[in-house]
Subunit: 458 residues, 2 copies
């Protein structure tokens, strides 16, 4: 309750009394919300039982609830929606801007999202259903539908009347453009609002609009949008359906936010956090189930590598020192592989490599693997020789690490490209596959080499 | 040469002939550059020897070189600068917008950045030196100095004359505001450019400016800037020194880009890629040295864990099956720990936890660790029992994994907070420390438990 509390020192710090104040004095609520940083809000909310927050969202006005929800990180907002009655959630979500609304609804369980949309006006529900169906991070999923549009055949005076009527709802969004459509609703041009000021009342929009305006398709992925905003200084770009119908507008700001959020997602997924952001305020059972879903795949994959060790128990019992090096080889190869993996994921995002260029990446990583493998292998061979006084043991362990380093960087480098080509999520699947392969190959290398040289290792 | 090539099908595909065309026909260059996606450009450049690209940057005009550089990812741009003569780099960098220029110069070796700035006009060099000194991702590092400013005592007609003169240089940046300063250069207000149109020529700016405008300090970190742009719909915010002097303007777009770039950095560092983006086009020696610098720390840390195993060789030789489980325990604990680590890094970024709240995180992870530890431990105990027909062995392995899962999530969850509090980079250091602790404790747990129950394990 740190910052929020400071701003409202006059009331005591129990959450419900705070909530009650909000309800009875909406001006204080707005003032507090404006003065509170959204990270402080997120922090304070994370300290309170989510059920209590759910109650608060029933007590404040719909507008206030929507504003509050918009300030919070998505994960937290979803959690709160799950603790509000669905008819209320429907009202609150109706107040939100489209990309946020679609994002939140997509993150809900199918059951809950159906329940909520069934409480919305049919038209809204249909619109949402359509938008939720766009692929993640596509123009369709990111577009806002609160844009201004008129028919190209409309006059300037009609348009100004329309703008005056829309004034209120458009006040927040720094609107500078208005889109013109044909009678069938297809996008035909864009009008700078300031140009309306210099035109006579009877001018048709089509005479002052910029025709052949740049637009994107609803299926276009985030990379395309990012490219476009890099190249042009537009604040928003219209989104059209295949038949040219104007569906919405993607804003520059939305695209930038989506890029940051996708980077964060990559990190989370590569670390084994599945199903979106995990917040510690979420129910323990849900968090535990999600983490276990990834861990249980890993434990099965681990068993594969363990079987290799088990099949060499004779060699191990003859040269027990080998047991010391198995985890070292597993860990070091994993590290080398994860470096190559991170570089590939990053180069894929930047467009520097393409999913088809597996050979190019392999060639580059091969050279790297040979150098790093030689360095790491020699290092561990030397340590082993000095420690155990047996040069052959050093050779076996060092040789296995050297070769396995090459294997690790080749797999780590190429796996993200292959998965991407297969339309699988490289961030999520690469890590576990990489570990399994490097462990299995690494254990096999060191133990089969040891079996071969067993005479010299006793 | 994919896309670029398509756009200039009339010339052959050798890089130098392309470059020569650029030099002799600057209009084609501009056309090609506009038609080429920046990711395609980055991809094509990554296929060419960087020395050849260096030559190209000597052949095209300074403006063209600057434009080209601005389209590329930072890592690639830095690499190219390293292959251009420093006097030429100085000229090209002089053409770039301030945040990009500062970012690129910061990423160079100190030697090279000194050499380049020594080729710049003294005033420019000084300005850059000052900006490079701001902490990464602070308002000072992210601000642009191409803003418009006038004295508050200036008249509207003087201002319009100034704007006309600046027209050319400001054409690109969608400028809508002009900042007003006192005679000493301190920020006093902001003027909407469109308001100039409605004021009489002799009006002083101070009568139409918005006084007490919101500004940030040059030291303010990225989080503060992100907060500010979340709260207000400004496109830019003025940056001031401690004494109120107007230093520059941070743009909304720059802040969004910085957020995405910081997320990407977190992932790279957590994966062992140090020293910024690694591109496969960079010199092999540099890439290998950087990767080895992280790997060599890991190999030393690995040796600590290996020593634990070595000290239990007697137990191991009695129950050789234990060797099968050591890597499994190491890997599974590592996975559990990295999940907790990712959640903490993410919650830190979102502001949901603060560096001081170690206990709160530990309490939350303790519950998670007990549940997941019990599940994973039971699973592996059962498998071991069935496989080896020895319930005690199952108990030893399962018990060790269960306890070590708790240790792993506690360390993984709290380490980023502790490192942040100590002003260390949590993304970079957390992983290796986590692995070492979980391996050491894990090996000790399973082997000391086995020694204790050795009678039942034979």
């Amino acid at each position: 309750m740190t910052e929020t509390q400071d701003h409202i020192a006059e009331i005591d710090n129990s959450w419900i009394s705070l909530a009650t104040t909000f309800v009875s004095e909406p001006e204080i609520f707005d003032e507090v919300l404006t003065a509170t940083k959204s990270t402080d809000l997120a922090h304070d909310f994370s300290l309170v039982e989510v059920q209590a927050i759910g109650k608060l969202f029933h007590m404040v006005s719909i507008e206030q609830a929507a504003r509050l929800l918009g300030e919070l990180p998505d994960g937290q907002a979803v959690e709160i929606i799950e603790n509000i009655d669905s008819w209320r959630s429907a009202e609150i979500l109706n107040q939100l801007e489209s990309p946020l609304r679609v994002r939140l609804i997509s993150a809900l369980t199918e059951e809950l999202s159906k329940e909520i949309t069934s409480n919305m006006p049919a038209e809204e529900a249909e619109e949402i259903a359509e938008k939720v169906s766009w692929p993640d991070f596509s123009a369709g999923a990111l577009m806002s539908s609160s844009h201004l549009k008129m028919k190209a055949k409309d006059t300037v005076s009609n348009t100004i009347a329309y703008l005056e009527k829309e004034q209120e709802s458009a006040a927040d969004s720094d609107v500078q453009y208005l889109y013109t459509t044909s009678d069938s609703g297809a996008l035909v041009g864009v009008v700078r609002i300031r140009d309306l000021l210099f035109s006579s009342k009877n001018t048709l929009l089509e005479t002052i609009m910029i025709a052949n305006t740049i637009s994107v398709s609803a299926e276009d992925p985030l990379e395309e949008l990012s490219e476009l905003f890099d190249r042009y200084s537009y604040l928003g770009v219209p989104v059209t359906a295949k038949d040219g119908e104007l569906l919405g507008v993607v804003k520059r700001q939305t695209v930038s936010e989506a890029l940051a959020s996708r980077e964060a997602n990559t990190f989370l997924k590569a670390s084994g956090i599945v199903g979106g952001d995990e917040l510690r305020s979420m129910p323990l059972a849900l968090r535990s189930r999600r983490r276990l879903s990834w861990l249980s795949i890993n434990i099965v994959l681990n068993a594969i590598a363990a079987c290799v060790i088990a099949s060499f128990e004779d060699t191990l019992s003859t040269v027990i020192a080998l047991a010391v090096f198995l985890p070292v080889i597993s860990d070091m190869s994993g590290c080398s592989g994860s470096q190559a993996l991170a570089v590939s994921l990053r180069e894929l995002t930047m467009g520097i490599i393409r999913p088809g260029e597996v050979l190019r990446v392999c060639f580059s990583e091969l050279k790297m693997g040979i150098i790093n493998g030689a360095v790491l292998g020699s290092l561990i061979a030397l340590v082993t020789w000095i420690w155990k006084g047996n040069a052959y043991l050093g050779l076996v362990v060092g040789g296995a690490l050297a070769v396995n380093t090459v294997v690790a960087v080749l797999i780590g480098g190429s796996l993200p490209l292959i998965l991407k080509k297969l339309n699988k999520d490289p961030a999520l699947a690469s890590g576990p596959i990489l570990t399994t392969v490097t462990d299995t190959v690494g254990f096999f290398l060191v133990l089969s080499l040891a079996s071969f040289f067993i005479e010299y290792l006793r």
